[in-house]
Point group: C2
Chain length 327, copies 2
Amino acid sequence: MATIQEVAQKAGVSVATISRYLNNPAIVAKETREKVEQAIKTLNYEPSMLGRNLRKSESRLLIVLLPSISNPFYTEVINGIEDTAIEKGYNILLCQTDSKPEREEIYFNMMKNRLADGIISMDPTVDRAKLIEIAKNFPLVQCSEYDEEGIITYVTIDNELAAYHAVKHLIKIGHKKIAMINSGEKFLYARERKQGYLRALNESGIPFNPDWIFTTDNLEFDAGRQAMKSLLGKSEIPTAVFAVSDILAIGALKEINLKGLAVPDDIALVGFDKISFSNMTQPTLTTISQPMYQMGSMSVHMLINKINGKHTESIILDHELVIREST
Amino acid sequence: MATIQEVAQKAGVSVATISRYLNNPAIVAKETREKVEQAIKTLNYEPSMLGRNLRKSESRLLIVLLPSISNPFYTEVINGIEDTAIEKGYNILLCQTDSKPEREEIYFNMMKNRLADGIISMDPTVDRAKLIEIAKNFPLVQCSEYDEEGIITYVTIDNELAAYHAVKHLIKIGHKKIAMINSGEKFLYARERKQGYLRALNESGIPFNPDWIFTTDNLEFDAGRQAMKSLLGKSEIPTAVFAVSDILAIGALKEINLKGLAVPDDIALVGFDKISFSNMTQPTLTTISQPMYQMGSMSVHMLINKINGKHTESIILDHELVIREST
DNA sequence: AATACATGTGTAATCGATTACAAATCATCA
DNA sequence: TGATGATTTGTAATCGATTACACATGTATT
């Protein structure tokens, strides 16, 4: 691998000239430029990012923290992140924490070690205190999550309103017995969506039945099944279910089918996230669509602003209710 | 951010001593060590990877090339890659090509620019000639794909045998009219799986009906639906279908359901890959399980061997037929 | 006491780029 | 013609670490 020194020698100019050519070809004289181009071509030279990065003290790498890549909700967000990052000359390091603090630690250290220029955190389970500590010293934005105290810049949707819309839709098509499959209330979004659910019921004068709210301890398919199993075992069975994630809804759907009941005739079902699989089930799933690509794209813009020392405001984006066969 | 120089000054020793402490604390005297530890702590020092990387001319980053992260087949492979890489002190750069050559180019350049130490390619659509060219000059292994000429080191399964097993299973449970939903034969694995399908039929004396082989132009859900629609429109309708990917199979399942037919009673269905969603459908999908985690893990071991200049042999791993409700 | 060897530390070169500053060249114009 | 300013290039310091080599000290051996 040729270095800039060798190119300089071959072209009969100094390394400074080569560097100038690399960074702004226009400022080197036409004649010199041709010699440099010639030398680069014959030596098959490619500049080393290692040298450049050290000198500029930047890595042009962004860390994206997420619990797990297998959750399809994130894939579309990642597309937004990746496209925007590449457009801005950055690359992304996709980091799965599996909600394990020691994994988190590794990635926070990469930041401290200057192997990354900033962090986009999409992990709801990350330790809040540590995150705030990091955010004080390094560029960091939260995507689809946020900190109630508003110390950390974020981009997200209005979870309360989205849940409200979902439940309102169920009420509008005639349901009164509406259950909710929620994830642990340690998550802010879970608390907010529950508020939206309650507000919709309340507004329509439907009494709240605590029997019909089921809290799962994870977001997997099986948790959805268990939740539905429990709901189907209640003395009074709901006619509609709002699940806070599509995967949970798909688990519920499976359980409903197993019990010989039909969606939407016996039980209507609304999910959340509009993952691609929500369109592949039988029946297809009514769900809340988040502007995932846009969220990803925005968070990169915000992060790069932070890296460049500019101030950035948090943003709340719009969601959309997608009505399909399950309601 | 403190540098090694400042730490050295604070501790009253030379930078060499700090560096030695960082890389092998045992070789610095106990007394000095304590001074160094003290200085590091009070300055809150974290060594810069930029400096280290330049000096060692390595980045400790591995590029993982894949068509799209949204294909769940890859997520488990990635887990294997990530765990093993971290264990070996490397990090991974997940790179989606979307099968676009210009995206590929970006990532190959990162390699040339020394921003990555090696590449694991899982992209079947990547330009072969270019891949071989890269493999000649840089550490590269192929995972789940391979080059027929055997120039590039790879880890994969025996696709012909896996398809053979899948079709044999259908024959064993009484099917004679067996269709295949295949992806384009530009992919080596598609050609191989077709061979396995033909061998199984042939061995059981079942004549091959060209009407029953459908070639899709992509691997998406809708392609599966279209394929099944076509098969259901034939003059003679098959009683079993072998699809070369679970997503295609799930698309087919949707179409079968829409036509009011039942799986497995009217039509039996076998997929390929054992993605997590294959267990969430109604009915669950019989499929071929590839050792995805192991494939990922192996490919990292092989790549690191290559990076360290050691010779490495290609490997073919075992698959497994997972029989579930759809057959 | 002389020698050999192990242990611990410092000096300074090095990795491959960028860039401030100085210097050389050239054209322009009074 | 000489001053002025623009354009182009070179010199050398720099980013933050690692490491070969040299040197000083302590310990063991005869």
